[in-house]
């Protein structure tokens, strides 16, 4: 009997370790695998390929006796949530043990690196360019173009920096990838090193992810010989959201305050310690092994318009079926929220979704026909960011969410740009006055709009520059919440 339970932090947070102990107490060994990403079913137990979830320790005897029909899901791989996805980056999710080199190489691991080693640096870059892969951190910059800049830049040493400072609420794909398939990220970084001629790589992981840090460190030790002479080390963040911005991250790696740098110079020319540096998100680098192994075209065949390939979308917040859904670009927001996510977990109506983390727009169901695509979201004054979707039911008070957007910016601003440092505080105060009501709400709203304009054009990075997205979208799509403070949200 082969029993598998995930050791992903989310499964553990839902009680997976206690479930494992219950199986062990009953005399059964349990394999710890990565998570399938069906979070509402965690802790998910697989017995010879048949899934059960969510499982509590008390359910274990019934599962072992084959008497748990209410928890039985059938073959996990055939579950509609999994079968409906196109998993390229997350092809191993749920299927392998994260620190097993055998599992990794048995599932196509290191093939991309082998191919890259037979190519010239320019050919590797061309392959990434042809795939159409764009940076998955949020900005969507073509990865191959960035790599080529670093390849051509003069420098005695070059660096590969993996941005694993996944601070956006509603995002956990980087965490799942690092915890579930760390060798995939290592392979992607090793390929990037070949493409640009780098000798040293860093994975900058936020301190809120201790499990991911431990997994990455262990995986780097296990695979060091396979990627040599390239070396990778893990660096732990220290609780600053702004360090997810690439120049601030570089300052942090150098041991400085995580303040944003002005660009130019681009990090590709003058990055870490002044050297040419590739800074890519976890998901960008983790997409690379597939592209090299299967060819650029195999990746580019998925997607729409200029958004090629797949996006690991994260369904979060008040959603019934939350988790990781990797799919080709082009799926509509409504399909994701209503069909795949199953609406709210509370059973109430969906009132708003925030796409793209704390700097993303709040969107009403009337915009649910928008396809998931960089350009389509830009057209409705939104952004897909790192692919996180937070669902809110009809108890949400949108003026309070707008206030929170300013509060978050004030808490996390690095302080370099005045509009962000001071504007966020003044914005929060003004929103508090609006929430309190009064006769001058229209004047206050005009002030907030004006402030947002200043922050948008006067901030160096996305923190100050994009905080207006959640604020203005909330005002535009949910104006009633900014005028009737007493009633809305009382439920």
């Amino acid at each position: 009997m082969r029993i598998c339970v995930s050791d992903d932090a989310l499964a553990i947070a839902c009680g997976a370790d206690a479930v494992v102990r219950a199986f062990e107490d009953a005399g059964h060994a349990v394999e710890r695998t990565s998570s399938w990403g069906m979070h509402w079913l965690e802790p998910l137990v697989e017995v010879d390929g048949i899934g059960y979830g969510p499982v509590q320790p008390a359910d274990v005897p019934a599962i072992l006796a084959g008497e748990a029909p209410h928890l039985r899901l059938g073959p996990v791989a055939d579950h509609p949530f999994i079968a409906g996805q196109t998993r390229l980056t997350f092809s191993r999710a749920g299927r392998t043990r994260s620190l097993s080199l055998d599992d990794y190489s048995d599932t196509g691991g290191w093939k991309g690196l082998e191919i890259a080693r037979r190519l010239t640096a320019e050919q590797v870059v061309d392959e990434v360019k042809a795939s159409g892969l764009r940076g998955r951190g949020g900005a969507g910059f073509p990865a191959g173009v960035k790599w080529n800049t670093v390849r051509l830049a003069e420098g005695a040493r070059k660096f590969i920096v993996c941005n694993a400072d996944e601070g956006d609420s509603a995002t956990f794909a980087d965490r799942m990838l690092m915890e579930g398939d760390p060798f995939c990220l290592i392979e992607g970084m090793a390929i990037a090193a070949i493409a640009v001629g780098a000798s040293h790589g860093f994975v900058y992981i936020r301190s809120e992810y201790p499990h991911a840090i431990r997994k990455m460190e262990a995986a780097i030790r296990l695979s060091a010989a396979l990627i040599a002479p390239f070396v990778i080390e893990v660096r732990k963040g220290a609780g600053a959201y702004v360090c997810g911005e690439e120049t601030s991250l570089l300052n942090s790696l150098e041991g400085r305050r995580g303040e944003v740098r002005a660009k130019p110079p681009l990090p590709a020319i003058e990055g870490l310690f002044g050297s040419p540096t590739v800074v890519n998100n976890v998901l960008t680098l983790a997409a690379i092994p597939f592209i090299l192994r299967e060819g650029a075209q195999a990746y580019a065949d998925f997607g729409m318009g200029r958004s090629r390939g797949t996006m690991p979308i994260q369904l979060a917040g008040n959603v019934r079926y939350g988790g990781l859904f990797e799919t080709a670009f082009g799926i509509t927001l409504g399909e994701l929220v209503d069909k795949i996510g199953g609406g709210t977990d509370s059973g109430r109506a969906v009132r708003a979704v925030q796409v793209g983390g704390p700097l993303g727009a709040y969107l009403p169901p009337s915009l649910f026909d928008t396809p998931f695509d960089y350009e389509a979201f830009a057209a409705i004054d939104g952004l897909i960011g790192h692919g996180g979707i937070t669902v809110f039911d009809d108890t949400v008070h949108m003026a309070r969410q707008a206030r929170f957007a300013f509060e978050f910016c004030a808490a996390e601003s690095c302080g370099k740009c005045t509009p962000c440092r001071i504007g966020a505080v003044r914005g929060r105060e003004t929103m508090e006055q609006i929430i309190a009501g009064g006769s001058d709400v229209e004047d206050r709203l005009a002030l907030v709009r004006d402030l947002c304009e200043t922050m948008k054009v006067g901030s160096l990075c996305a923190l100050g520059g994009f905080t207006p997205y959640p604020v203005l979208s909330a005002i535009e799509h949910f104006p009633e919440d900014f005028r009737a403070p007493a009633q809305v949200g009382a439920a």
């Binding site: 947070a13 201790p210 977990d345």
Partner: protein, 143 residues
């Protein structure tokens, strides 16, 4: 609590040759002593050939580093949007009351458990789907 000089020297020596050693050093100091003291800042600055103001500025910038000792366990409660949508704000008020000074309640913006919130972390142990009663149990165990 004043750090003994020897272990700090060991921490510093352990990072000789590290590129950009300041954050790794501060993390280790904080892990060992629970905070970064003025004395530690001075010694780190001396060792890395930085000014005290530079080291101080870095310590002050990051939410993780503390400058004063606090022996209480810290509950990091996520209050970012996805957890808000699942009721974290109500829990935050409850946590303050139940912690009653025995547990330090800290706000954290995102633990990456956004589909199963409200979520919290205490001593690197993660907890999800929190409600009043599970939170109370958690605080009771740790206080």
């Amino acid at each position: 609590m004043t750090p003994e000089p020897t272990p700090l020297c060991e921490i510093l020596a352990g990072h000789d040759g590290t590129l950009g050693p300041l954050l790794p050093i501060l993390h280790e100091v904080q892990a060992r002593y629970g905070y970064v003291s003025e004395q530690a800042i001075e010694e780190i600055a001396l060792h890395l050939n930085l000014s005290r103001a530079e080291v101080s500025g870095v310590v002050g910038f990051y939410h993780d580093f503390r400058r004063t000792p606090d022996q209480r366990p810290a509950l990091k409660l996520c209050r970012a949007e996805a957890c808000q949508a699942r009721g974290s704000e109500e829990l935050a008020a409850v946590a303050e009351r139940l912690g009653a000074g025995r547990v330090r309640i800290e706000t954290v913006y995102c633990l990456g458990l956004c589909s199963v919130g409200p979520a919290a972390m205490i001593d690197e142990q993660v907890h999800a789907r929190l409600n009043r009663s599970t939170l109370a149990t958690l605080l009771e165990q740790r206080a």
